[in-house]
Symmetry: C2
Subunit: 320 residues, 2 copies
């Protein structure tokens, strides 16, 4: 399946694995890339050791990397470290990408910006983004309010009018070939997929979280600030994190001020639950697409299944 995205990234399938913080290590990124898609290491929240290990674990695979922009901006040396490994692509999301654009392009990495509204898109285009990931609210992890179904074509229209060389990609709620085929219909040139790779065999997400995820429905998630409060992450306004609804969110979602007052007790409790992979007292970070994820599978098989599923979906309607 050839698209402008496969040409730009020199890959076989128009699929990017999201750079999920703490989840997308080198093994996951490499497995995705080795199957013909583009795996991105999750730059996360500034752990240099994690980043070094991820690039080491990726070996010689042709992978990329992604950062949470506002977090990386506090420690730009992490970007330098990542670029020193000559990644094929660098994705920035959640913050102003402009200060980092030249460095990324000078390093020879394809410059990807993930956007949650049209203002983000305008800023990203002005910064020299080559690929815009239009991220819908159904996605797991951090995001905002626009839904994938309408945001993607609106972004595609915006780019066609204002920056026709910039390539739109869809994210949010996509877990299988049907979603990839739908993304192509909406005007995207491919899909960025998180949740399904979060559940992959190579994922670094806690095993207990993934086991809970594969039996969940897409109805079992919510967007909340409580998870950032307990993790003491200072996210800018406008973003929430989508996680699996569980005992923790039942207790603390919507009661973030009370949680702030209870951090001395609650933070160690939460950290212990994460370490134990406890899906009730620490939140699995998946999106609504979890309802289409039913097993923990090797990432390479996931890539192949999505690509084949998209071709099949397109072929079925062709005959119809």
């Amino acid at each position: 399946m050839k698209t402008r995205l496969t040409e730009k990234l020199a890959i076989d399938h128009p699929i990017i694995a999201a750079p999920m913080a703490g989840t997308s290590g080198g093994a996951l990124a490499a497995a995705v890339s080795n199957a013909g898609a583009m795996g991105l290491i999750g730059g996360g929240y500034g752990q240099r050791e994690f980043l070094e290990a991820a690039f080491r674990d990726a070996g010689n695979a042709r992978i990329g990397c992604g950062f949470i922009t506002w977090s990386m901006a506090k420690n730009e040396a992490l970007l330098d470290l990542a670029l020193s490994h000559r990644p094929a692509a660098m994705m920035l999301s959640f913050g102003d990408p402009a200060p980092f654009a030249r460095k990324i392009r000078d390093a020879g990495a394809v410059f990807i910006c993930q956007c949650q509204n049209l203002d983000h898109v305008r800023t990203a285009v002005d910064s020299g983004a080559e690929i815009i990931v239009a991220q819908g609210t159904e996605g797991g992890g951090h995001g905002a309010t626009r839904g994938t179904m309408s945001f993607v074509p609106e972004v595609a229209d915006h780019l066609a009018r204002n920056a026709p060389d910039v390539i739109p990609v869809a994210a949010g709620g996509i877990a299988d070939g049907r979603g990839l085929a739908a993304a192509l219909m909406l005007g995207a040139e491919g899909a960025l997929i998180g949740t399904r790779f979060w559940a992959a065999a190579e994922s670094l997400a806690p095993k207990g979280h993934r086991e809970a995820g594969v039996s969940a429905s897409g109805d079992d998630t919510l967007r909340t600030n409580s998870i950032d409060v307990i993790r003491q992450l200072d996210w800018p306004p406008g973003y929430t994190i989508r996680v699996g609804r569980n005992g923790f969110t039942d207790r603390w979602h919507g009661k973030e001020e009370a949680l702030r007052g209870a951090l001395v007790v609650e933070v160690p409790r939460y950290q212990a639950a994460v370490a134990a992979g406890d899906p009730v007292n620490s939140a699995p970070i998946f999106g609504e697409a979890i309802g289409m994820v039913h097993a923990i599978e090797p990432a390479g098989e996931i890539v192949r299944a999505i690509a084949e599923g998209a071709a099949a979906a397109l072929g079925r309607r062709r005959r119809g």
Copy 2:
């Protein structure tokens, strides 16, 4: 374009126009049906005169009707009135459809249920629904939290496993042929479309609202309870209404309790703004797909443009 939906409803294009309260009168429904799709009269909130006028205005067109279930349940005579006109289809949304199923099917109307989560789908299937509209949060008017992109395939999977004769349809964020083609890829057999028809020439929405809508972006909407408070509509929990962000929502969204205390002053002010078609002080009811709606056009032309656009989108990727 033939699908199980076009066969079931005996229509040419797999498109249903949403039964928007106060907006979908007989002229709009008839124009949609006469162009080969299925137009639904909006049964609204119990105004018998509106309903009688709508069926009169529809003339001999082969149209259907839709009700807000919890509202119609307070005055079942409205359902009887609608069924006495032998509609081709009857859609129920927002409430328990079971008590009305037999009457609808006995009247020979195709029984459509719109659903916002999988519990709704299970209830609708148990009630004998023949078509399930899976409605995503990006849609205008009332709805809930699931995004179209992941909800539709999850509903399609659920029906394929548990009720293979029931036909899934996608709603929420769809305004053009790309959205319809995407819906088909996701496993739906067609699309229910509101916002684009809300802006149609035959729509009964205030002209000033529609003129504001066609210049809005999909970023310019929000889900709120404030509009139901000012309209004194007693919606059950779990639902919000998506409207255009404007002066009214800037003042009152998130301050619903204060608004409840100010109704004596604010209700007449709001009603006057609606009557004047004032898009700043009364809320235009559109969804995120408004960003793809750029003109007030005849509904029949909209149907043809969506059908042709979907065929073109599918054809482009076929060649790719």
